[in-house]
Subunit: 198 residues, 4 copies
DNA sequence: CATGAATGAGACTTCATTCAT
DNA sequence: GATGAATGAAGTCTCATTCAT
């Protein structure tokens, strides 16, 4: 009987979280049994409890991990050249496995059922706004966007557009269409930044 | 012994669907037991099975009903004066109970688990695009938006923006902020419609 | 909505019992719901309770009716010409609908679960023995079977042979084979009646 | 917390099947709940599902096991000395617990409800015929029964007689009477084997 | 570390029975 | 007489969790 990962607790936990995340996304949290998750890894149920206190804890850690991954991604890829980095950020997202790419939408479905998951999401949302705003502030200082633009509102709009497009993709919107309207949207928002003032 | 609704099957079904919809949204589909739903109405479990053959059928009918309600709403409220009707449409949405307002996000969480729900959503998504596109076509004929704008892409973008903002509201975005960036966004998209060409 | 049979309680009860009997045999007692039985007749569940106090009572009456029918059949068809009447009795049985023909086997399956059904069956079994014995006694008086034959044992054997062949028919034995071995068997028993003495 | 049988899956399954078989016979399949069966063994419901995927599967396995047991019994005990072995076979049967002795009658009650059980029974019936026929063929070769006797029909008759007597025993026929008429019947059939020709 | 046997609470569903209309 | 809405008990099955090995 194979150990999850020989010796390394952290890696074992990560292996479990990866499988759990995929299953949660594909079949739902409630619909994925601990047995399913264990089988996916090639381990027995009991083993999962060596690494996570219970199923809810596993969900919590999965959400935290995915949220952090996505946040790091944003932080790394979004530079002051907003338009260009928006493009590459979106392109990078398309490479992600679905359970990561659509993690936010999945997690939103759990937000009403789980206070700890809610907390993670709300904080992450705020971080997103903060990160993008800070980049936009630089643009403003350089005079590349309107001086009276409200960078927070610009950020909120960009995020909304992004998430809305992700929702559409879950409903079948093609990657080509998605990329195109995302890019046009961001370009548009930046160009008419003065529409978003306080 | 209370009857669901005296005599009228249709009304009885609607009463059940309304309660079920609220519970599904608030606690999740799996997390809401048939007992919970029945208790909410003041009826016993068995009664639900007089009206819906099983729990999944109930979910399906709830989704169909909500989706239709929202679609009718869109069809009724969105006129050729897109900007103005966008405002009133959004305002009307804010009056809806959460389980209706956020129905699309809820349903998206079920899309991977249930083929019939998926079908409803995909069809509805296409209808949304069709409805908005047709209104935009009229604008184009009147020369109010760019002649070479792709009305389908404009619609996709508007819908994405709308849904993205809804997601943000579930994460705490205020109604004021939401209204404002929605309105600005729609205005912006229309004004720069030439950005969205084929 | 059609009344079971206009006005005539007895006929209504018989209509119900006939349908119930068929269903009980085809699907089992427990497996046949009151709804199923009612639907078969084109009536609603509630109606059945106008004629039978509950489901068990219905089973009881069905068993009593079928048992009596079969017993009358035996009494009518079995004359002192045992061999000849055995043939015609068996032929008549083959004309019966399965739920009647195999009623005894069905009822035997309920014997352990229901004291009242058990009582009916045991009494009927004794009556069978009595009826056949009495016919055999006449034969003995006429010197057509051995004077020291035990007519009770002869009867027991004949009944066992008959019932065993019925069991085989439920397992696919052809009517031709069944008739043949039944006739040969009865002939054999009569011819060697002296084997069965006290 | 008691384990069904320490460590041995096969034995655990057998323990369950034994109890289930007894309960099924005594109270009927539908009437025996999984709770009842579990309680009988001193285990909880859930445990049963570790060994049998559902209740129907349990019934199926019980039937298969009992049918095989009885078939082995026949194969082992019936030699070419048909008359003598019939006696010892019957005697051995009287030692069996009722749920085994009357298994065939019980199973016949399930034959209309369950295709897989039906298949087992039909196959077993054919095997019985084959086993007995083959023994009779030997007798025929030795000239101990009529050269033109149809051994298949002889077998069918013997089986019918046997099963019919079992039915009678369920209705109260004494063991003494049963043994006697079984033995006389078999003797009779063999002696007059020429009655059963093709 | 890992297993797998066992548990027991809880979910969905069915259905005999009642009763107001 | 007949209906059909409602009940509630009971049954099957699942699954998170525990624990001895």
């Amino acid at each position: 009987m194979p150990k999850v990962v020989k010796g390394y607790r952290k890696q074992a936990m990560d292996t479990i979280m990866e499988s759990a995340s995929r299953l949660f996304f594909e079949s739902g949290y409630q619909e994925s049994s601990m047995d399913d998750i264990a089988r996916e890894i090639g381990v027995t149920k009991g083993t999962l409890y060596l690494y996570f206190k219970n199923k809810e804890e596993l969900l919590y850690e999965v959400c935290r991990r995915n949220t952090n991954l996505l946040e790091d991604n944003l932080d790394k890829l979004v530079t002051e050249d907003i338009l260009e980095s928006a493009k590459s950020f979106f392109k990078a997202e398309l490479e992600l496995p679905e359970h990561l790419r659509f993690h936010w939408i999945f997690a939103l479905g759990e937000i009403n059922k789980n206070q700890r998951v809610r907390k993670i999401l709300l904080e992450s949302y705020e971080n997103y706004v903060k990160i993008i705003s800070s980049r936009l502030e630089v643009l403003k200082e350089r005079g590349l966007i309107s001086g009276d633009a409200d960078t927070r509102k610009l950020s909120l709009t960009m995020i909304a557009l992004h998430n809305g497009i992700m929702m559409s993709m879950m409903q079948g919107l093609s990657e080509a269409d998605a990329s195109e309207i995302f890019e046009a949207g961001i370009r548009n928002i930046l160009k008419n930044s003065s529409l978003y003032k306080n």
